[in-house]
Symmetry: C2
């Protein structure tokens, strides 16, 4: 992988004049402190820390623009940092540079209930936004699990458990404010709910992982709280039956709010972590929402479909505290899985395939995991065709790491062969660049490079992520772990 | 406007070698016949015909690619032509060149009900697709009124009456096959329902109006037919009450399937055209869908809300023939409006604003129309904040044309000032280029130009639409009406 090229040089240092300029601009909101740089050199992936040369905390779009102009003047990379919850090495400073920590851009700028939208600074996290929305009757729907920042969620094209009903981050976006590579500021759209006014700049920056511009403000849709919500947990004899049951629900038009599959090992992890006594079988966690009448009707329809597919042990909850009790284990699944093997690190996979291929893809992946001998619980967002495996590895064991990487590689390739994608919601980062060529063809990957070069000719914006530019395209020196 | 620059030269002729190459490739599916060129030189806009130099009918992506390669070799513009139903001059051959008539790319390639999607050639129209889906239990939702081609609908970012429930063309897209300016073919994505694998090429080409690539195949989502559908027609004392009633319905979470406002003049046009006896007042046409229970419940909720806002004369239909009777007049509204003034041409407007501004925007626009003395019925997709005025003009009356253009200009600017867009669903074409700078700022408009130049450096793809490139950026000679 390019980023591990042993010929890359030593840690890049910031030009003195740039450090002076940033200190003048930001005061103590700029630092080259080693410990703070280290904090900003890794995310939730298993990559070793690659810290930036400095960290800056802008508080406004204008400050972010000024920082960008200064960095552009000194041809220094800029890496945006949200909540650090990405899992593909998005924030690693592969070529050194300045990390833009967005955590002080944490203002909810306006809540416009008549427009079913709100405007926030990019550092606002989804939980903060939902707290701000409390009492308005509305909520922000995208829920990737972690309390990610909205800017980060835009940048990775995040989604999560209720995407099947409310859409991904992309479908919930109305407009972005973006600082371009030269420091110019654009708003990608105004606030209308739809627009045909030229190229879709909003969707170009969504999923661009900080490589085309710095997202500083976000206008998102909010949704009215449904009158009623209910939850169900159901066991299945095998993953194939569980997947097919969900597909039939979607085919008959049941508006499932969430539809999560957990394999037997994930349930085992949850039982150990949450002290529950769930049957250690493939299990669906479902959620329904709407009016009381609608929810009751959905429950009847779905119960029949699940039973026809071998679903059993049906548990149902419609009172809030009962729902929470039923669903909380699912929300903790990722951390429960990590604790299956204390001290291990996780390599996450993110296959997403057409629904018709999902049962095959999951079943083949489980066989593959078993053959590998690795411990790798599997769970996913069945309604979207997306699932994750958490490959638990002892990073000191080179053979095991290699085995996990080979398994992750097969999972990504299987998804691509099945007309799906190597990443449904985590993004490319530094980890999946090599798959883009396979997934989009050489012409598609080349087109992405052309777009990157048009928008960021000096390759200053989060270099080394999403697209691999020929070395020498940037003057940026690489950084290494401290 | 650049495109009417009187200094532009005479009709460009195709280079002989290109004509020979295209004839060899396509046989009688290539022509320079004058009458056929004229048929391809105009759309539903009021612009005078500007025919291409030749017309070609590809039958496959491969043929479209070969045509593009030949045209690129001879630096000749290529203008894609779907159903010719666009309203912003999208298909006019401003700089001459070859028109690619996509009507023979009319195959439905696969219907994948388990994936809730299907794959079609770009020339398939929405009615053809829905005929092909008959009996499957699924339908394609996007309905802009005209029987547009799917490629054209992608290219303009089309939407229509049921966008409030099912989304615009953008939200119903999974993947595109696109011929690039150099003839290379890309698939923008595979078929997964979501993806974070690199830049969103699908959404970059959606709404690009043929200026970034030629769309040859489209993978769209399909939806299961709802169990029950019901329709309602309700009169209001004024447009403001009608708009606010719809907003409240959305705020409380009623999943309206369609929500159309027609002003009194539109109703007058309908009565004359369809021999109906609707009250000539601001009127909402609503549609509900879901299970029978859900539809009944929605009806009760909505009826109360409408009444609170002064809605009266509530008509309701849930049997198919009754529903059709109630809604058919709405579907014919555009043509009914045209017939208000036989012999006139229509200048259409396409303002779309945040919902909170819609009542003001519509009310101010109606005042503006009245003050102008023009005949201009108004109707729109209230749930999206989008409405159209059909400005009926006698094109031989220069003063009236100028008055209509001035009114259309004020409508577009009012929408922009209200944080909306000059075009919610019709696209930019040659007509709205000048507004992009205002709507997206100079930096946003410049970014669009940079994207165009990166993807189409010779400015061969539908030149003169969406972005205004400095003259001399292309060798292409302009065409004029025959």
């Amino acid at each position: 992988m390019e980023t591990r090229n042993p010929t890359l040089g030593p840690i890049g240092q910031l030009p003195d004049a740039l450090a002076v300029g940033l200190t003048t601009l930001l005061g103590d909101r700029f630092t080259q402190n080693r410990a703070i740089r280290e904090q900003h050199g890794s995310d939730e992936s298993s990559y070793p820390c690659m810290p930036p040369d400095a960290v800056a905390w802008p508080e406004s779009t204008d400050e972010a623009s000024r920082i960008m102009r200064l960095c552009a003047k000194y041809a220094t990379p800029v890496i945006p940092f949200g909540a650090g919850s990405s899992v593909e090495g998005h924030v690693l400073a592969l070529h050194g540079g300045v990390c833009l920590d967005m955590s002080r851009m944490n203002k909810v700028l306006s809540i416009d209930t008549q427009d079913l939208s709100c405007r926030v600074q990019a550092g606002v996290t989804r939980e903060t936004l939902n707290s701000a929305l409390a009492g308005t009757g509305y909520f922000f729907s995208v829920d990737p699990g972690a309390d990610a920042s909205l800017g980060g969620m835009v940048a990775t094209g995040a989604s999560g458990t209720n995407t099947v009903r409310y859409g991904t981050m992309r479908e919930n976006l109305l407009s972005l404010t973006v600082v371009l590579a030269n420091g110019e500021v654009i708003r990608t759209a105004q606030r209308a709910r739809k627009s045909s006014a030229g190229y879709n700049l909003t969707q170009l920056f969504a999923g661009s992982e900080g490589t085309l511009g710095l997202i500083t403000e976000v206008v998102v849709k909010v949704h009215p709280h449904p009158e009623a919500v209910a939850a169900a947990v159901v066991n299945f004899p095998d993953v194939r039956s569980a997947v097919n049951a969900v597909i039939v629900c979607l085919q008959v038009g049941v508006p499932l709010a969430r539809a999560e599959l957990l394999d037997a090992l994930s349930i085992q992890a949850i039982n150990a972590h949450s002290h529950t006594e769930l049957a250690e079988q493939p299990t669906l966690f479902l959620e329904f929402c709407g009016s009381k009448v609608q929810v009751a009707e959905q429950a009847t329809t779905v119960k029949d479909i699940l039973a026809e597919h071998g679903g059993h042990g049906f548990q149902w909850a419609d009172r809030p505290e009962e729902r929470r009790r039923l669903w909380t284990p699912r929300h903790h699944a990722y951390f429960a899985c990590l604790q299956l093997r204390p001290g291990s690190r996780a390599v996450s996979t993110d296959a997403c395939v057409p629904l018709s291929r999902l049962a095959d893809c999951v079943a083949q992946t489980l066989d593959d995991i078993q053959a590998s001998g690795l411990m790798a619980p599997l769970f996913g967002h069945v309604g979207d065709g997306n699932f994750h495996c958490v490959l638990l590895v002892d990073t000191a064991n080179a053979e095991e790491v290699a085995s996990a990487e080979a398994l992750a590689h097969r999972i990504a390739q299987r998804a691509i062969v099945m007309e799906g994608t190597c990443t449904g919601e985590h993004g490319v980062g530094m980890h999946k660049i090599s798959y883009l060529q396979e997934e989009h063809g050489p012409e598609g990957a080349e087109l992405m490079r052309r777009i990157k070069q048009a928008l960021d000719p000096l390759n200053l914006l989060n270099p080394g992520k999403v697209v691999a530019l020929p070395s020498g395209a940037s003057r940026c020196k690489p950084s290494e772990a401290l």
